[in-house]
Symmetry: C2
């Protein structure tokens, strides 16, 4: 379906907004009145600019507090409308959004509202304009979509229809099935917005917390399906008031918005995208470092062995069981230290993974493949992390591992047989800090592009502010897991850390082996264990082992979680985890202790 966006959804001047909307592939815009009023461009110039960019002006909005007023006020309101019709003619807009009145002057009289809307529609018609009447969730007398429709029906004018807005309908928990009772041709416009589920005043919720469909908790796809079944064939138009999007780069927000609509059409069964290929695990994690020594030392102590050297690039492969880490020494910034730059995701069909990602506007990473190397299909995540789609060691298919020549010799550090492993055989999850303005984008990206399921968002109390964390995961017994984090403020971005969690089946045994190998482990305060003893009835012997090795503990109804951390090198640290039973979380309740311990370690306080 045709795709539009309201200019209020994007940051910047009206000019910037139009440019961003066009670049993201939108075909139309809703011009938000304040954006026009504050613009140095005349309506004619806006129209020309939009036309140059291939954008139609699908809606002018909003016109407020029109209907059900005493006669004297009606005359004024009609004059006001005439003036806006003239602006719309100059803009080339043929549909005007009229919101249900919030004015104390409005009279609770549907007949009067219908009569006056009929009058307005008559005036509009003379200007070639249609009126789309919408119920605001906080409208004074008319606040539900079915009520607005009854008034429109009673007004009975060809130039009058209704506008449906998913936020106004779903925020009030109205039943959207009634949409199918409205003749499709009388639904003049459809505005779409999602929002996180919040128990707060609906006006504040609407003005500050709306987000793009798929980023919140409202069933926008279900609502869309009802509208289409009713016969609606107009634009899908995003109208999102969001404090963060107002600050973010308009170009990126517009792409995020378009991705949201593409995924929404798929969810509503209106369009078929290439099927998602849910990654089944991590092929590798790639660290970049100008100086790889600290990483090599840490990886070696964790029991990894250097097993390969890339044939064409300064990249080493380190392995332990199924856990693979690449160390890339090309082009990294020495000052920032080692960082996690890429992850390899196991895909049953890497080419199909990329097709879906491209369709959903993920930036494809230019291929840097040397002659004879295996194909490497990658896209960039919202934080710049490269996501490679891999099919590792599958007979009959090229594998990225073929590009590595065997390395390491018996008896040398990092050789596979230098004393055995430490029980760390797979990557349990990786944690990727996200840019402050793009957390909602990241959640939608991982959900739509990779087909991962988001968990509930959590607040993690760092000593210097609350982090937000959202985990996304695949399905099955050992799903692929990624934890997305965002710092309390843009200032905090420099200090955010990435990590790679490695799984063991016996965390005490692994911890003991790591101690023997000199792995630098993050010290955990004794107070934590005193509390753990009070909180859970753990056997004394087990509690003593946890305390001895700095292991953190969590449990829920499904199972237990044990975990500890290495110190941080550059921007990266490692976690060691053991899951028992069906425990599916990440030990969020221990995050405060971990974050405080990391701050203390950074200051050299412990």
């Amino acid at each position: 379906m045709r795709k539009s966006i309201a200019t209020v959804s994007l940051s910047g001047s009206l000019s910037e907004k139009l440019t961003a909307a066009a670049a993201a592939g939108f075909e139309g815009v809703e011009i938000f009145e304040n954006d026009l009023i504050a613009s140095p461009l005349t309506p004619e110039e806006v129209r020309a600019r939009a036309a140059d960019l291939g954008l139609a002006v699908d809606l002018y909005q909003p016109f407020r507090d029109f209907e059900a007023v005493p006669d004297a006020l009606l005359e004024r309101n009609l004059r006001r409308a005439e003036s806006k019709f003239e602006v719309m003619a100059r803009l080339g807009a043929d549909t005007m959004l009229v919101c249900s009145s919030v004015s104390p002057d409005a009279i609770d009289d549907d007949g009067l509202a219908a009569e006056q809307l009929n009058l307005l529609a008559g005036r509009a018609e003379r200007h070639g304009v249609r009126i789309a009447y919408e119920a605001l969730a906080w409208g004074r007398h008319i606040s539900t979509y079915d009520h607005a429709w009854r008034v429109v029906e009673a007004a009975d004018h060809p130039a009058l229809g209704t506008c449906l807005d998913s936020f106004h309908i779903l925020s009030r928990a109205s039943d959207p099935r009634g949409i199918e009772d409205i003749p499709g041709e009388k639904i003049f416009f459809l505005q779409l917005a999602d929002a996180p589920l919040m128990a707060m005043d609906v006006l504040q919720w609407s003005r500050h917390y709306r987000c793009f469909p798929g980023q919140g908790g409202l069933d926008v796809a279900g609502l869309l399906a009802h509208a289409v079944r009713a016969g609606y064939r107009g634009p899908l138009s995003l109208e999102v008031f969001n404090d963060v999007f107002r600050q973010a780069d308009a170009g990126r927000t517009a792409l995020d918005a378009m991705r949201s609509l593409l995924a929404l059409e798929e969810s509503a069964g209106l369009a078929a995208l290439p099927e998602p290929v849910v990654p089944s695990g991590f092929a590798f994690a790639e660290l970049t470092a100008a100086d790889s020594e600290p990483l090599i030392s840490l990886l070696g102590s964790l029991g990894f062995a250097r097993t390969g050297r890339h044939r064409g690039k300064p990249v080493e492969l380190w392995e332990q069981g199924e856990a693979r880490v690449l160390i890339n020494t090309a082009g990294s910034d020495r000052r920032s230290g080692p960082s996690l730059a890429a992850v390899g995701l196991e895909s049953a069909d890497p080419a199909a993974s990329v097709r879906r990602a491209e369709t959903l506007l993920a930036p494809v990473v230019p291929r840097r493949r040397g002659e004879g190397e295996a194909p490497l299909d990658a896209v960039a995540g919202p934080d710049g992390t490269e996501l490679f789609f891999c099919r590792t060691g599958s007979p009959g298919h090229p594998s990225w591992t073929d590009d590595f020549a065997p390395a390491g010799a018996a008896g040398t550090p990092g050789a596979p047989d230098d004393g055995g492993g430490t029980g760390l055989g797979t990557i349990d999850h990786v944690a990727l800090p996200q840019p402050w303005h793009h957390f909602d984008e990241a959640a939608l990206f991982y959900r739509s592009v990779l087909g991962l399921k988001p968990d509930e968002s959590q607040d993690l109390a760092d000593p210097y502010g609350l982090f937000r964390s959202l985990a996304v995961a695949g399905s099955g017994g050992t799903p692929l897991r990624i934890a997305l984090n965002v710092a309390p403020s843009p200032e905090g971005e420099a200090t955010r850390s990435q990590h790679i969690a490695l799984a063991t089946d016996d965390i005490v045994d692994t911890a003991r082996r790591l101690r023997d190998r000199g792995t630098p482990v993050l010290p955990i305060p004794a107070n934590y264990y005193d509390d753990l003893g009070a909180r859970y009835e753990l056997p004394a012997e087990q509690l003593a082992r946890l305390r001895e090795f700095g292991i953190l503990y969590d449990r829920d109804g499904d199972g237990e979680f044990f975990h500890f951390y290495t110190v941080t090198v550059g921007r990266v640290f490692f976690e060691v985890v053991q899951r028992t039973g069906g425990y599916d979380g990440y030990g969020a309740r221990n995050a405060t202790v971990r974050l405080a311990a990391q701050h203390a370690a950074q200051l050299g306080a412990v």
Copy 2:
């Protein structure tokens, strides 16, 4: 009364929190359990650190989900409590906060709750500990303070009392008068927090938006007065969960917290501070500039004349009517350009103004008075702006103007008689951008230190995010007015602007004179006037004049407001305003247009 603060109210490690609380003059702290658990300090070390700093550990908190449970769970809960009593002995804390249960295991049975709390109090007593039982506003069965008190009364144990928390009581709109029915000695603890009035889920409201008393909309002083009338003589203790304070510098937050308690005691009639001397107007605004030429050119075009030169410093006095501007060329940073560094406030008693400011912990600015100069009493505002208390030209009192030697000669630019004024005779208001983490602090500062009244907070839509704005004002016909603004994010601080608004009685006349003098005025888009015509029934002639001179318009039930702006020089611009009738605002609805026009002007787009 004795003053305490919960460690959760401050940012940083437990060590930093204790240091900040002590430096601000607190006598006690509540130790928040997670702060202790995450600390590398043992309880004994915390106790010693606190003692060294002169802080008592007044409360250990919280203990959760204890009461009204089945027997098997009771045993576990008692074991958990015993373990915490041991921690408290090590900490030197003698009061434990027990919150009403939120657990699904809790039984709705007041008798059982009382019985089990009695049991807990008995155990506590053996450890020399008292239990303060508090109703959480979202408690499962017990959520009001009077209900909690009935259970405590029924439990009837000397080591059991109640804890009152102003947020939990006032957020539910409970009637606090019932507090006086509780015997004072059974109120074991009083926690104080304010919050902005928000219609949202009370748990989220409590966890993210609490603020210090006087910074929100709850009547904390009234509640405190009831508690004191009941006979409460324990500590006044702040417990504030606030997303911004978590990120802010702990030292500053602690001072803000102490200021809040001092002002609260005054509001509740419990302490007499030096009376506020509400400033009656602006003595001057002081701009600093390494290169004063752009400012001189702008001031001259606005009709100001150079009338004085400071006898001992590189400072010029520029005047027009009662509006005075100082230009200081000492020690300014050339790169940032001119900025507003100080304002002079007319005070009937400058020494008394300073006494009050000092009592309320405002940093007194070191006096830089030369020999024979008038006394200059100044404190620093939260954004670093210096606030001078002045008594200008009052017979029998020294006046800061005496330190200036007359300057300017007939016929030279900037001379008083170069062609007459422009009608700008007073400073209407100044706008001071505030640091991101200190907006609530600023509101309380201007209210408590200067006795100004805050208006309602407003959101102003800049093209790149929402600003928050709060005006504070004195009383009377032409009150002193200051507009406080805060950028959408810390990133935005570099671009925030300060301004000085000058009043005229005839804005069109002033605008015409300024045009003749070549004052660079901010251009306003034509679209604004098209909308103004539609919105208000302004006479065509008047609308044409507004359009001609780029004058913005607002009105409310009390009167009208006309205003326009100069371009920005460095960080500063000027506004010209005319108020008619009793209009008391600042044209907030025009802020979007002004902010967009300023962005456009910055880019050279207009």
